[in-house]
Symmetry: none
Subunit: 245 residues, 2 copies
DNA sequence: CCAGCATTGTCAGGTGATTGTCAGGAACTC
DNA sequence: GAGTTCCTGACAATCACCTGACAATGCTGG
């Protein structure tokens, strides 16, 4: 299904999809998209963000809340440039996204990728990707498509290890993760690595986040839980003043 | 057993479980889950909260109330948006929970962990009783996943020892626990520690709880039982005026 | 009701444990 | 080979916890 209010654009996408043998349903606004979804149960949804009546973000939210639709693959189309910052501050709830203008060829590639993923079922390799493209927790946003991290609306340059760590923390936002759990994910359960390594990564991330933080606030969203591990702040209540800033 | 109304999701979980050699029974709503449970007596239940007929919370409540099922490990699946229910409802009775969408790999890890726990012989039943993720007793709530303690609706910063103590008291809410029992859990049966240590911890907890208590009430939910030990108030009637406030 | 003992509340300080921080060197990428 | 990334070990900062002493309270027998 393609949900897109611009008729020409919708038609373009439809032709490409049908050319690859897919059966396509069009919806021209958010409400009708949702209505149609419940009846047709498509294999995939291409969803424009800017739409009349109900916008793409809300459509996505509804989809994720409904058990029967929750794992429908969603490829979201977003406007470029101006709203970049806005959009990246949000948790899209989509499995993948592309910014307009996009190349139809790439769109098709991503569609194939998403369909392959949902087809494979319980493939061990699949679950790593079969998650939201953009996750958010408090002031931190992780974009798995661009492999970018945002904090307080600004981009942060992360090393691969830092990215994996933050990605894990955002995915389990609010939950405490032990150093062991974290290290397990950072490496493949290599028993010859000190747990203290995690602390160093956390420290480096805290510094990078602090460097883009606007106010002189003395709190970090990356919270230490003494004797247990670390967690990423989900809600404001568990922010604690950090002794070192 | 997997209780999940969304057929696709249920099928996904089933495949993962069977891939690890488990025998799986599916239930598509709360009522049939309960019926099947009584017959099959499974080793573990993966339970979706949002289900038709009888929802997950009620299923959990029934399970915990029935002696033959009370010790069944329950892993609950909740929608991300309904975190409020988790924090407010709070008498889940589940042993662990995950928020949707979740990674199948992590689901498997938690299943293994729960099974390992319940495998430790049938005599360990007492020790593993009600190892819930979120526990509540009177005004006190302990969240083992987030590692957070709430009192009177507000968060309390606890040290590791205080957390273990409160966790134990909440788990056995209403029951008196001797200093010896408490110390046993705080440490691993270290015979060179004074019993009086427990008093200090209790005192510190009482103060922290008092600091967030709204009214000027002179009672603490953490009650001293003279000559025996301590207990956490389950019902209002055994609240006693505390001499020191 | 009172005395007297047992039990519990409270405080502050010393000590061990946990975490923050730094810089150097090995391993890796390009 | 230049530049990263990452681990490690050491030290500093911070924290948690036990202890011992004393004050306050509870209980028991008269």
């Amino acid at each position: 299904m393609v949900a897109e209010d611009d008729a020409d654009q919708a038609e373009l996408v439809r032709r490409y999809l049908e050319h690859e043998g897919h059966e396509v349903t069009l919806a021209h606004d958010g409400r009708s998209a949702l209505d149609l979804l419940r009846g047709r149960r498509p294999d995939l949804l291409v969803l424009d963000v800017m739409m009349p009546r109900v916008d793409g973000l809300d459509v996505c939210r509804v989809i994720r809340a409904e058990p029967r639709l929750a794992h429908l693959p969603v490829l979201m189309l977003t406007a470029r440039s101006s709203e970049d910052d806005l959009l990246l501050g949000l948790d899209l709830g989509a499995d993948d996204y592309m910014t307009k203008p996009f190349s139809p060829r790439e769109l098709m590639a991503r569609v194939r990728s998403l369909l392959r993923r949902s087809d494979r079922g319980p493939d061990a390799a699949a679950d790593r990707e079969a998650r939201n493209a953009v996750l958010r927790a408090g002031p931190v946003t992780v974009d798995r498509v661009r492999h970018e991290v945002w904090a307080y609306g600004r981009v942060i340059r992360c090393t691969p290890g830092e990215f994996r760590l933050l990605d894990m923390l955002v995915e389990h936002a609010g939950q405490v993760l032990s150093r062991t759990q974290i290290l397990e994910r950072l490496h493949g359960s290599d028993p010859f690595i000190t747990l203290r390594t995690v602390d160093v990564h956390v420290m480096n991330l805290r510094r990078k986040i602090k460097d883009v933080r606007p106010g002189p606030q003395d709190v970090s969203p990356l919270v230490t839980v003494y004797g247990v591990g670390y967690k990423l702040t989900d809600t404001p209540h568990d922010q604690q003043a950090h002794p070192y800033g």
